[in-house]
Amino acid sequence: MNHAILVIAVTSVVTAVLRFIPFLIFGGKRETPAYISYLGRLLPYAVMAMLVVYCLRNIGFAAAPFGAPELISCAVVALLHVWKRSSILSILGGTVCYMLLVQLVF
């Protein structure tokens, strides 16, 4: 119980510190360095790919079902999103697909 509270406290404080860092460093009168602006602009694209890989990191490709539920559901999310570009539809559709696959098929 105490450990859980400490985990929440540490996570909260560290998350807040990370959010404040750029404002503490560049929030004054100084102009934001070009390199930082460049990273701020392009990094989100790379980070999102990294987060997708992060979510899928524990898939066992060596044994059945070879990551099939995850890969099929990711494809469903991507196709739904290309089709309608509605994040709620993509997320809901992909999640329902995954739940059905892991509970009923694999």
Binding site: A4, V7, I8, V10, T11, S12, T15, A16, L18, R19, F20, I21, P22, F23, F26, G27, T32, A34, Y35, I36, S37, Y38, L39, G40, L42, L43, P44, Y45, A46, V47, M48, A49, M50, L51, V52, V53, Y54, C55, L56, R57, N58, E70, S73, C74, V77, A78, H81, V82, R85, S86, S87, I88, I91, G94, T95, Y98, M99, L101, V102, Q103
Partner: protein, 228 residues
């Protein structure tokens, strides 16, 4: 606060409303399945207020992870917020006493709304930022508490509902892919992450992947002749 600003903020926040309810709900369900009830999910969603990190925090709470591990994991998972904040430094400059809250509440989704606000008078923008940030925060807390409450009474198995988070990232990735002209950064992120996953394994790949991405983007900028 003007009625039209309230209306604009609410309309802008509707996509986040739906997304946060679904993901918040699945967070509450996952947390409930580990034996932590509504009060825990309300506290985590109010204070941590970072979707992916909260799912990771549930794992850390269930294990005997040291607080150093918790802090380092948080840095790795939430490092991207440092970069999101960079483009809000100027916009949040004149927000006065609301500024600390606005920075605290700068999630990925709130960022996507406040970095691109609808047409309005400059003097109304501060109210818009505050409203959008607070609304999103409320959606997130309500969603996760609902998840905790209904998690125990749902008539069907919720196994696999945590895929909502993966689905969120995939949908954001596709959205960025569709709206970006330059796909090199996205491919770089994908390549570096897969490579580091293969080399360093599932538990240790995040930090090498971030370093490799930073290196790649830095080299890419040099090659581009520092146009930006």
């Amino acid at each position: 606060m003007k009625k039209e600003v309230i209306k604009k903020a609410f309309v802008a926040s509707v996509p986040v409303l739906s997304g946060y309810l679904v993901i918040g709900l699945s967070f509450g369900v996952v947390l409930q399945s580990r034996g932590y009830g509504a009060l825990w999910s309300a506290a985590m969603s109010a204070f941590i207020y970072a979707g992916s990190m909260q799912f990771v925090a549930v794992e850390l709470m269930s294990s005997a992870a040291s607080l150093i591990t918790v802090a380092l994991t948080t840095v790795m998972v939430n490092m991207r917020h440092v970069f999101y904040g960079l483009s809000m430094v100027d916009r949040y400059k004149n927000t006065g006493r609301a500024r600390p809250y606005l920075i605290f509440a700068l999630t990925d989704e709130t960022y996507s709304l406040v970095c691109n606000p609808p047409e309005m008078k400059a003097e109304d923008e501060k109210s818009f930022y505050i409203l959008v940030s607070a609304l999103d925060h409320i959606y997130w807390i309500v969603g996760s508490v609902l998840g905790s409450i209904i998690g125990s009474v749902l008539p069907f198995s919720t196994e696999g509902i945590d895929f909502a988070l993966t689905a969120l990232f995939v949908s954001v990735f596709v959205e960025q892919w569709l709206s970006a002209k330059d796909h090199v950064p996205a491919l770089m992120g994908l390549g570096a992450s897969v490579l580091c996953l293969l080399v360093f394994g599932a538990d240790n790949f995040l930090i090498p992947a971030m370093l490799l991405i930073l290196l790649g983007l830095t080299l890419y900028r040099k090659r581009e002749g520092a146009r930006v």
